[in-house]
Symmetry: C2
Subunit: 338 residues, 2 copies
C-alpha cells in the first residue's frame, strides 16, 4: 500500500518524539503504555511499530499548510496522539473489547484496574507534552490556549462516549442524535488535532474554528465508514460480529424501511448477541432498505465537508490536495495500521 | 464534633466554587459528578453535603500562611479537590469497592463504563479550574507552573496506585516498599495541594518543596491511621472486613514476629477472603507482635514531619498551630465526612 506523502514525510519524527516522551520513564506503569503505543509485545520485547498516527499527521499537515513550523507543532501533535491512545485504553475497558486492532487490549493483558491507571497516566503525558512547547518557541499564552483546546475536546469526547453508551441501551434512536454523537465521539480529537495545527501556525480564531470543523468531519467520515465496514466489509479473518452495535445503517433502516422489513431487522437485531449466521440476512435487509447507500453518501458528504472547511480556512491548493489524500487514506484504511 | 477553624473559615466558599464549576453543565455526564461530589442522590435529588474538602483547605491554609490571597488560590484549591474526586471514582472501580463512604460508588450505580467516563471528565474539569486562575490575577507563567505541579502529582499518584496493585498481589513486601508506595499514593495530591498554596503565595522553589513534603507526610499519616482503623477500630456498623489489604501492621509483623506467630498470621491472612470471625485473632496476633504500636509511631512521626516541614517553610506560628490542628483532625476523622 502506498502511503500519502503527508504521512511518510512526518512518520519518523513523530514516532521518535513519541518514544522520547514515554521511554525515558522507569516506573513499570510505562511498560503498559509502550505496549499500547505498539512498540513492545506483552513480554516487553520490541516489535516493529506500524501505527498510522493520524492525529499528529493532521496537526502537522494543517500547521505546515498555514505557514507554521513543524518543529513548534510537534509537541502538540504528539500530545493529541497520547490523548487518543488514552481514550483507546479506556474505551476498550468500557466496551469490554478483548482486542485492540490485531493485539489483545491493555486491560485484557494487565487487567482493568491497571489499564484504568495506564490510561490516566497517558492522559497526563499528553499534557506534559503540550507544555513542552514552551521549549520550542511557543509563547505561554499560546500554550495555555492550546491546553484549553485540548481540554474542551476531551470533555466533548467524554460527553460523546456517555451519549454512545446511552444510545446502545435505547430502543429508538434518531439519525440526528446518532450523527451528533458520532461527530462528538469520533470527531472531537480530530477537530482538536486540526485546530492545534492552526493555532500554532498563528491563525486567528475564525480559521482555527474552520480547521476544527474540518477535523470533526474527517472523524465523522471515518466513523461512518467504520459503520459500513462492520456490516458489509468484514473479512473472514475478522472476529465474528456477534454483538451488533447500533450504527447509522441500522438506525436509518429502522427509521425508513417498510414495516415488514423493520420487523425482521428488529427481530434479528434485538437479540443483541446475534448468531453470526444471521449477519448476511441483516446486511441484505439493510441493503434493500437503502441503508448502505445512505451511509456511504453520509460518509462522502462528511469527507467533502472536511475538504471544504480546510479550503475556507485558506489552505493553499497543493496542501489541500495533500490533506485530502491523507483524509481519503484514513477513511479507507482506519487508524490502527499503516 | 468541633471543626478546626481552618475548615470552617473556608468551607462555604470552597463548596460554592466547586458547585459553580460543575453545576452549569447540562450534559447528563455531569449528573454523575454531582453525585460523586455529594450534592445529589442517585435520583438527582439534592442532599446536604458534608464533605471535608481536605485538599482545598490545605491549599488555602498554606497560601494564607505564606501571605497569599485566598481569592487567587481558590481555583487551584478546587482543582485539587476535583482531581482527588476523579481519583476516587477510578479507585473504586479498580478496587471493586461497591461503596464510597456511606453511599454506593459511582460505578455501582451507573456501571464501570460510565464511571470511567465520569472520572476522566472530572480530571479535565480540574484542569479547567486551574486555568481559570488567569481571571484571578495569577500570571500565565504561574498558571503553567501550577499545571506542571498538578501533572507531576497525578503521575506520581498513578505510579503509586500501580505499585499498590502490585503489592497486593505479592507474597513478600518490605516495609520500605510499602511506605514508599503509601507516601506516593496517599501523599501525592496532598503534597500538590500544599505546594500550589505556596506557589500562588509567590514562594520560591525551596519553600514550595518544603510545603510539598509537608503535604506528603500528612497524606502518609492519614494512610497509616487508616491501616490502624481497618484492623483495630472498625465499628459494628462497618461492613465486615473480609478482604484483608496488605497494610503496614501486617507487613511489619510478617517481617519481625517470631516464626510461630508469623505462621499463624500467614495462615489467617493468606486466605485473602477472610472469615470475619478470624479478624479478632488476627488483630490480637498483630498487637502481640508490636505491629499496632509500630504503626501508631509511624503515623505520629509522619504527622510530626508535616508540622516540621511547614515550620521550615517559614509558616508563622499562629498559622502553624492552625494547620497542625487541621492535620490532626484529618488524621483522626478522615476525608469523607466533616
Amino acid at each position: 500500500m502506498t502511503l500519502p506523502d503527508l504521512i511518510t514525510r512526518h512518520q519518523e519524527a513523530v514516532e521518535a518524539t513519541l518514544q522520547a516522551t514515554v521511554e525515558g520513564r522507569k516506573d513499570p506503569l510505562y511498560r503498559m503504555m509502550e505496549y499500547q503505543m505498539g512498540w513492545v509485545d506483552e513480554t516487553g520485547t520490541s516489535v516493529t511499530s506500524s501505527m498510522l498516527r493520524a492525529h499528529p499527521t493532521l496537526t502537522l499537515g494543517v500547521c505546515e499548510a498555514l505557514g507554521g513550523s513543524v518543529e513548534s507543532a510537534m509537541p502538540a501533535a504528539v500530545a493529541v496522539e497520547l490523548l487518543y491512545q488514552f481514550a483507546c485504553v479506556h474505551d476498550d475497558i468500557q466496551d469490554g473489547t478483548p482486542d485492540h486492532g490485531p493485539r489483545p487490549s491493555v486491560w485484557w493483558v494487565w487487567g482493568p484496574a491497571q489499564a484504568i491507571n495506564a490510561g490516566d497516566a497517558l492522559h497526563v503525558l499528553a499534557r506534559l507534552s503540550l507544555f513542552s512547547m514552551v521549549n520550542h518557541g511557543v509563547s505561554t499564552e499560546q500554550v495555555l490556549a492550546a491546553t484549553k483546546v485540548m481540554d474542551a475536546a476531551s470533555l466533548e469526547l467524554f460527553e460523546g462516549q456517555h451519549q454512545d453508551l446511552q444510545i446502545q441501551g435505547q430502543v429508538a434512536v434518531s439519525q440526528s442524535t446518532y450523527l451528533e454523537m458520532a461527530e462528538r465521539r469520533a470527531g472531537a480529537l480530530m477537530g482538536c488535532a486540526a485546530q492545534l495545527g492552526a493555532l500554532i501556525a498563528g491563525a486567528d480564531e475564525t480559521v482555527q474554528e474552520q480547521c476544527r470543523q474540518a477535523g470533526r468531519k474527517l472523524g465523522l467520515a471515518q466513523h461512518l465508514q467504520g459503520d459500513i465496514n462492520e456490516l458489509w466489509n468484514a473479512t473472514p479473518d475478522d472476529a465474528p460480529l456477534t454483538i451488533v452495535r447500533k450504527s447509522l445503517p441500522i438506525i436509518y433502516a429502522i427509521e425508513t424501511a417498510p414495516v415488514a422489513v423493520k420487523r425482521e431487522i428488529g427481530t434479528l437485531f434485538m437479540t443483541r448477541v446475534m448468531d453470526p449466521q444471521d449477519m448476511p440476512r441483516l446486511a441484505e435487509l439493510l441493503g434493500e432498505a437503502g441503508a448502505r447507500t445512505h451511509c456511504i453518501e453520509a460518509a462522502e458528504s462528511a469527507s467533502a465537508a472536511y475538504r471544504a472547511s480546510l479550503e475556507s480556512a485558506g489552505v493553499p491548493s497543493a496542501s489541500l490536495d495533500e490533506l485530502a489524500a491523507f483524509g481519503a487514506h484514513l477513511i479507507q484504511h482506519g487508524t490502527t495500521g499503516a
